[in-house]
């Protein structure tokens, strides 16, 4: 089959961008991909999770693997590119083209590192609003994402409700629980405990690969259900090293090792710190009801009340213990209270949190059904 090619574009915004924390970025790059031609009722904004990027679907030239949600985006797929125009952008604070801590600070000519200001999920969606304006998009049929992508979808839907007809939140939460913050904190500590991290100043040296790979290993443990991990790896061993008993030996050790190493090649340690910090600080209720909401279009409580004809869809997975179904039900309750007609479905699966990437068939049926009805 012939491969459809896609490419990541960069929008450079040459004006200051004010952040939630009060600080300002002097300029901004936004990396995005666009599949299709936008019209008034065909645009779907896709939001990526912690380690994702703008390259959501299709193949970039020379690529072996397609974009991160290619199984869900394309002709005849859940987000059908024959019917809808799909936009996806890399988040603020990321390292795949959008401005983040690895970007050059115009004031110094060097990478920001820890001089990069703290960012929030609200800042991420503000950046996306800027992108949409540039693309001439004033209406969204839907805004959808899993995990952190779900948080952005909900935040965008609340902050710019006049733009959005619906949202889809998959395996996500209104705010992190203590356990979720705890896992993120261990990841951040692993990075900061690596001497190569050097207070975030490592861009001209070897990066804190050991710390970042441990952070990723912890992540992968939480993305998988206990049953699936047992079934996939059990106690089987790849090899038994007699000279160094602490080298990886069990299959699960090799798997985590592989995931950790693969991750450091494509991700920036400081981005990991900034983005997980934004996730932990996310609290949708506080964010939409705070009095300091002065920026952006359509901010304020009045706008939230304008939500009656709008729709939401919340999807959870039975074996997802990182973002458990109970958090999905909280989301439903929250949006029903705002008069958003929010449906809830819980997919029976053993694939844990990763199911939003792997359980394509059932999600396709659900999402196509939901989108077709609008």
């Amino acid at each position: 089959m012939e491969r459809t090619l896609s490419s990541t574009e960069i929008l450079h915004v040459d004006r200051p961008f004010k952040l939630d924390c009060g600080e300002t970025l002097p300029d901004l790059d936004i990396a995005y991909e666009l599949y299709g031609t936008p019209s008034d009722d065909n645009v779907i904004l896709i939001e990526h999770a912690l380690s994702g990027d703008a390259h959501a679907a299709f193949y970039q030239s020379g690529e072996e693997k397609p974009g991160w949600w290619d199984a869900m985006i394309g002709p005849g797929k859940a987000f059908d590119t024959d019917r809808y125009c799909i936009v996806c952008s890399n988040v603020l604070g990321g390292c795949k083209g959008t401005t983040g801590p690895a970007s050059t600070n115009p004031a110094t000519g060097k990478p920001y590192g820890l001089d990069f200001p703290p960012i929030s999920i609200r800042d991420m969606v503000d950046v996306q609003r800027t992108l949409l304006t540039h693309l001439g998009i004033e209406k969204l049929k839907c805004i959808a994402g899993g995990s952190m992508g779900g948080m952005q979808a909900m935040q965008f839907f609340c902050d710019y409700s006049k733009l959005c007809a619906s949202f889809i939140s998959i395996a996500s939460s209104l705010k992190h629980s203590a356990q979720q913050i705890a896992f993120n904190e261990v990841g951040r500590r692993a990075i900061m405990a690596d001497p190569r991290w050097n207070e975030g100043r490592y861009y001209d040296q070897v990066s804190p690969e050991a710390g970042l790979s441990v952070a990723r290993m912890i992540g992968h443990i939480t993305y998988m259900s206990e049953n699936l991990m047992q079934e996939k790896f059990g106690r089987s061993r790849k090899d038994r090293n007699t000279t160094n008993i602490f080298r990886p030996s069990f299959e699960i050790e090799h798997y985590l090792d592989y995931q950790g190493i693969a991750f450091v090649k494509r991700f920036d340690a400081n981005s990991y710190l900034y983005i997980t910090n934004a996730i932990d600080n996310f609290d949708l209720l506080t964010s939409i009801s705070s009095s300091g909401r002065t920026r952006g279009v359509g901010r304020g409580r009045g706008d939230i009340q304008d939500m009656r004809p709008k729709k939401g869809l919340v999807i959870t997975f039975t074996s997802d213990w990182l973002y458990p179904p109970s958090q999905g039900r909280e989301i439903v309750k929250f949006f029903n209270a705002l008069n958003v007609q929010t449906s809830y479905t819980q997919i029976n699966t053993e694939h844990g949190h990763d199911a939003f990437l792997t359980d394509v068939g059932i999600q396709t049926k659900i999402i196509r059904g939901f989108l077709n009805s609008m």
């Binding site: 007609q341 929010t342 049926k365 939901f370």
Partner: protein, 200 residues
């Protein structure tokens, strides 16, 4: 089965007021809510446990929650609905008292249909075969039928009194497709009944 359901739907539709908020427990593929949305302009929500039926509802644009009714309706606020419907589902409920109680917590009126086990044909079937009919079991075998509750009209009414619930309207389905409001020998002659209930 399907004619029974549509007949119930017609009565429920007549009971429900225009623009009401309606919760349908065990809403299936959303046929009832779809009709009520189109003809009565209701604000509807369905609750269903089966994934395929959930998808059927989403296709119709119906708002639906995938929930086990027996786990309660804790996600729904007190008095957030005008009518809460439990049509052809009561016989599959593990904790009927809890569910009826929840229905009248979240809604002003409950609309419940029951299949009368005391109906003469059911009695005769038990007498001649020594077991309940396949019609009662929805074609399931004794160990896998969803139908686990067998109740007669009088028993059900006594339960309502126990729970402090008032019947505000009722329709009784008799043989030969006849419908009555005050039938004689209820326990014997009624096949199925539809009640509209409220607390107190």
């Amino acid at each position: 089965m399907s004619t029974l359901v549509t007949r119930n739907h017609a009565i429920i539709e007549a009971w429900v007021t225009n623009g009401a908020r309606v919760l349908d427990l065990g809403c299936g593929d959303g046929t009832l809510l779809d009709a009520l949305i189109r003809r009565k302009k209701i604000n509807g929500l369905g609750v269903e446990i089966d994934q395929d039926k959930i998808i059927a509802c989403l296709k119709k644009g119906i708002c639906v929650h995938q929930t086990d009714i027996d786990q309660g309706l804790s996600n729904l606020d007190d008095m957030s609905f005008d009518y809460v419907v439990l049509n052809a589902t009561l016989q599959a409920i593990h904790k009927p008292y809890k569910v009826i109680d929840e229905m009248l917590r979240v809604g002003r009126f409950a609309i419940i249909s029951i299949s009368n086990f005391g109906y003469v044909q059911n009695r005769l079937h038990v007498l001649s075969h020594g077991r309940v009919s396949e019609h009662i079991r929805f074609a399931g075998d004794w160990h896998d039928t969803p139908v686990i509750r067998f109740v007669s009209i009088t028993e059900f009414m006594r339960s309502l009194t126990d729970m402090g619930i008032t019947m505000t309207d009722a329709r009784y389905f008799l043989p030969f497709g006849r419908i009555s409001i005050h039938p004689p020998l209820k326990d014997l002659l009624v096949k199925e009944a539809l009640f509209r209930l409220r607390r107190g």
